[in-house]
Structure formats: structure tokens, C-alpha cells
Amino acid sequence: MSHAAVAHHTSTGLDSRKIAFWTFIGSECLLFGSLIATYLVYQGRSVSGPTTHEILNIPLTSISTFDLLMSSLAMVLALAAVQRGDRTWTRVWLATTALLGAVFLGFQAYEFQHFVHEGLGFTTSLFGSTFFTLTGFHGAHVFVGVLWLLTLLVRSFQGKLGPAKALNVEIAGLYWHFVDVVWIVIFTVVYLIQTTPLPAA
């Protein structure tokens, strides 16, 4: 039995899912804002353990930051490909985005285990607690994003990701870019702005 054409009237002419997702992103601003505020408030107050300036690896993190920025580029190109119905490039760019996201997670995993090895654990100090919680929440978001992208990739291979479904990719993109944008803030606030004395020339 076919349904009568369901032309859903909306008050704004905009898709409800997109409105809901932007609202969710707004809410996430408060989530990460609270984590960042805590990190900033507690900066320099640890009574023991490695300090930021002793343990943070700026060159390595710069590379992972670049990696995440490029993943946003790949994401945007994936959306463009879906919108014009280009199946091959949709898959290429979705896979690239997911891969770059996984690489970022790899960098984070390396960093985490290296820090623990150097004496900064989750419970070592305020720095440890706030750092791992903030970056851990971010990393968890990246992980969910990678799963989401892989799901879209599978849908594409199943032939179920045509231009009519572009909104699904667009919303995944909003999520992905937002996670990138949070990292932009974290990279600046945690890695580049440090209260302890910076390395001499």
C-alpha cells in the first residue's frame, strides 16, 4: 500500500533534523566549555607530577592538529560528492575522513601512553585529571565520529547514499567539523598557552 504523498509542512522550510542537530551542537558548547573552564581554572595548581612544559609535545600535536584540519577538508569534499551523486568520490572522501580521524586517535593513543610512561597518569595530579578528561572526552567524540563515517561508508557501498540522502552526510559533517573546532580550542588552550615558563630560545 503506498502512502499519500507526505509533504510535511514546516514553519521554516528547513529540515527538522538539521535544526535539532545544531541545537545539539549548541549544547555541546556547554559540555566542552565546562571542561575547558575547569582545565583553565586548575592550570598551574598541581602540587606534584610533570608540568605542561615538561611533557607536552608541540611538534607532534601540531601534526595531529593538521591531520584533523585536513579531515575537515575531506569531510566537506565528501558532502559535495554526495550532493552531486558522485558515488566513487563520496566513498573516497568518506573513507579519507574516517582514516584521518583514526590517525588522530592513533596520535592521541601514543601521546596518552607516553605521558603515563613519563609519570603523568589520570590520577597523578590536577593536570593529569583535567588533561586526560578534556582530551579523553574529545577523543571519545572523534571515535564516535569515525564509527558514524564508517557506517555512512557502508551505506554508500550498499547503494543507499544517493543525493536524496545528502542531509545524512551533511549532519555527520556538522558533527565532525564541530569536533575539529573543539580541538582547535583545545590545541590553543592546552598546548600553546601554558602558564609554566615556556622553552627558552
Partner: protein, 101 residues
């Protein structure tokens, strides 16, 4: 892959592939400048405000172009900017209350 076609919204303003690549290049350059400022000791006096401005620029570029907020209905801008403003106010407020600022 190189032409800009927007299947969904004919006539609506939209960034092109070339624009996305340019943005990516700008983001890279800004990141290099940020890291550079970090490593140049003489600039450390103005490190925090410089970095904040630079990363705010990156933030705006990604949100405006990659997340398409610049071209979208103003409703999305409102729904995002209002909580963002609260988040920034909360961060600043707490920094004052904990005597960091």
C-alpha cells in the same frame, strides 16, 4: 570533482571546492603561525591574546564555511551562537571567580 555543483539548493549561495581548498590552506598557515609564535621567545608577552585571535579565526572559518553557517538560514546561527555565548561567558566568569583573570 573540481566544479562546484550544488544539487540540493539551486540558486543558493554556496562555497566551491576551490574555496574549501583555500580555506584548508589558510587553516594550515594559521596553525603554522600559531606554532611559530609559540617558539619565538620575544613574542611570548603577547602569546595568549595572539593565539586566541588566531584560533578564533580558525574557529570562524570552519564554522562559517565548512559547517556552512555563513550561507545557511539565520535560525541556525541563532541556535548555535546563543549557547556559544553562554559557554564563553561561563568560562570567563569562572576564570574571574577563581582569580585566574
Amino acid at each position: 570533482m573540481t566544479e562546484h555543483t550544488d544539487v540540493r539548493h539551486a540558486g543558493e549561495a554556496h562555497a566551491s571546492t576551490r574555496t574549501y581548498l583555500v580555506i584548508a590552506a589558510i587553516l594550515t598557515i594559521i596553525t603554522i603561525i600559531e606554532v611559530g609564535v609559540f617558539y619565538v621567545p620575544t613574542l611570548h608577552a603577547i602569546l595568549p591574546p595572539t593565539l586566541i585571535i588566531l584560533s578564533a579565526a580558525k574557529f570562524t572559518l570552519v564554522v562559517g564555511f565548512y559547517m556552512h553557517l555563513k550561507y545557511d538560514h539565520s535560525l541556525f546561527r541563532a541556535v548555535f551562537l546563543f549557547p556559544l555565548a553562554i559557554a564563553l561567558a561561563v568560562i570567563v566568569g569562572l576564570l574571574f571567580l577563581f582569580r585566574v583573570l
